[in-house]
Symmetry: C2
Subunit: 432 residues, 2 copies
Amino acid sequence: MSSQVRIGLAGFGIVGQGLTSILTGSAQWIERRLGRPVAVHAVALRDPHKQRAVPIPDGARVVSNPLELAQDPDIDIVVELMGGLGMAYDLIRLALASGKHVVTANKHLLAERGEELFALAAQKGVGLYYEASVCGGIPIVQTLKESLAGNRILAVTGILNGTSNFILSRMSSKGLTYQAALKKAQKKGYAEADPTLDVEGFDAAHKLVLLIRLAYGHDYPLNKLPVTGITGVTPLDIAYAKEFGCQVKLIGQAKMVDGRIMAGVHPMMLSQSYLLAQVHGAFNAVRVVGDAVGAVMLYGQGAGGLPTGSAVLADIMDLARDGAAPNNTGFPEKMLPPADILPPEEECSRRYFRFNVEDKPGVLAALAQALGDVGISIYQVVQKVDPSAPDSNIVPIVFMTHQAKQRDVEKALENIRAMPFVKAEPVHLRVL
Amino acid sequence: MSSQVRIGLAGFGIVGQGLTSILTGSAQWIERRLGRPVAVHAVALRDPHKQRAVPIPDGARVVSNPLELAQDPDIDIVVELMGGLGMAYDLIRLALASGKHVVTANKHLLAERGEELFALAAQKGVGLYYEASVCGGIPIVQTLKESLAGNRILAVTGILNGTSNFILSRMSSKGLTYQAALKKAQKKGYAEADPTLDVEGFDAAHKLVLLIRLAYGHDYPLNKLPVTGITGVTPLDIAYAKEFGCQVKLIGQAKMVDGRIMAGVHPMMLSQSYLLAQVHGAFNAVRVVGDAVGAVMLYGQGAGGLPTGSAVLADIMDLARDGAAPNNTGFPEKMLPPADILPPEEECSRRYFRFNVEDKPGVLAALAQALGDVGISIYQVVQKVDPSAPDSNIVPIVFMTHQAKQRDVEKALENIRAMPFVKAEPVHLRVL
């Protein structure tokens, strides 16, 4: 590398502008930390004339074709902040193939095609860094890759999506419906007009696949990951959660179970006494349990231009500092073995069930029997009047159970759905 | 380095044994992560015949003089886990001078003599790593050194001592006195027979000096740091804290104030709504606010053989991985400039005061006047019967104030102490 660290920046949206404003505002500080300056040599933009909050850095060449960055001999590190699976993929491939380091915030691409891209980076001996891809400014990639490297990771559990957490926090603190809380999130800029990626759990799923790779050194195919979003979470279930001393959070979790990886993204109930339950608003947090270190939790802002820009910059500085072979996946292997996945029907966790039923004799007994028939053991039962419909003859009956297998849960739900007094699709949540 | 990473281990106490048991139990995993094995080449022990829970690793040479490790050509990294300021200093100096990397958990030594040792390491181009020195298994050193390197750090605030936090947590949850809670901590192995270093805030002070170096790139002389321990914290003040919605925690904090560093270790009240207030028992947590990343918090076990061993191992693996010049302080300079310290009398924070006074007319007014006279503005007042002495004519009067300067606090306390109706030394706590 030259005396300057010369980056080629592809994409100048929220994160690109955040990174640029840090590079400009803290230029002297960054040079002090690194011993040499970081300069934006070129920026690839779709529309160079668009009005932007942050100006294009002085001296940066503006190009319209991002692929030019990959082959510019004056660029040391290509920074991909365009997102998406198309041009971003082409750019990263070409940059790695050209022997350039790449820094990206593109969790979706690395979850879908990481296997191939990390193999190419390993073959070329260059860095493919992605701290900003998982929970923005929280240094969880570095922590799993290096700080906890000597630990066998027993579990990784996180609030990985700020939009969902904002919505669930608002539903909990203000008693809002999902729709009303989503509107609030959109108004505040935390949710996009089409919030699917966030609220359906897909964004959290992308991050979880990256965390699994870092924690266990296995490729876990994204399409094998069980994912449930938060669109079905109701104020009533959040109110019941509170009665049990719990919060409802969208949780991404991976655990080692008998040598196999059990993973998924689901809305879950968790005790108020857990630190994770105290993570409110658009914040993210990841709890890692290692066999040596015990429980460690990292908390911070999972999105936004400056926090995510901070993580991108950490990767740039790390690559600029390291003379050695970069550490991309946390493992020196060129290809990681595929994950040995616990079949989803074998997944075991405590459960919360809510059944809306006709208020008549024998109903509670029949429901309890249906759970017992498949071997699900009940821990607590609540039956009382629905405060939102006190005169209805439809009442909610709520069960908290001990550990139950997904296979048995499905069997029980199938039987219960068929019962004539069951008047709505049963609600069911995992309990952390 | 050779194909094996060969370490020389000085000290085989709690942390040395923790490290060894990880190296033995996870040997294959560590080799997979690193691409080569980590072997204990030699161990320096005072008493080779002592019974230990963890055996000395197979094949390790046992030496009685730690200095032998520093000059053994078959050792790549010297791991100093003896503690203390004497032999540990000699060993680290000699190892660095001999061109060997050093990993240490010795916060006290690095706080006292870090300036000199880091300069020597820089001169020799070798690593002096110390993740285990600050909050055991929590990766705060790595986070400040690399992950947040592009941030101007606005504040670092932490629960840096597990022993004190255990004691204060027990005082709060069980209403114990300091003495009773200390006994409990000693029984559980969280406090030593002589707990001075922990409960007087010195251990937290050592860590805070290391955090200041990492966050700001300045040497802050340990003897300039204002430090108050927890021995004066009473159940009564903890009860008042709860009334104000607060917890009492021993907090180490450094902040940038007008370009100068304001730092100290003190028991402080902090709102229950802060995540830091939810850190209970022997756990540690550090909250960092960066100009780009915003607030980030790291939480975990700050002590114990395995968590601390996990951090030592991370440093070993990091040094074994890096081919480049090691990053010791987070700054490439050979000598860090001295900190520009805000004089302690200029320190500004909200305050809690408790005055035990004779219950007679005019007392509250006189106290309020004494605070007002030095410009301290009152935010809340509570006067009620002391539940532990309901018939006493001595009553506690409690004030919460707005921001107050330490100079003014001292002046007010001086005046108030001289008032004839004040019957005990006034109690005063900072409010975070």
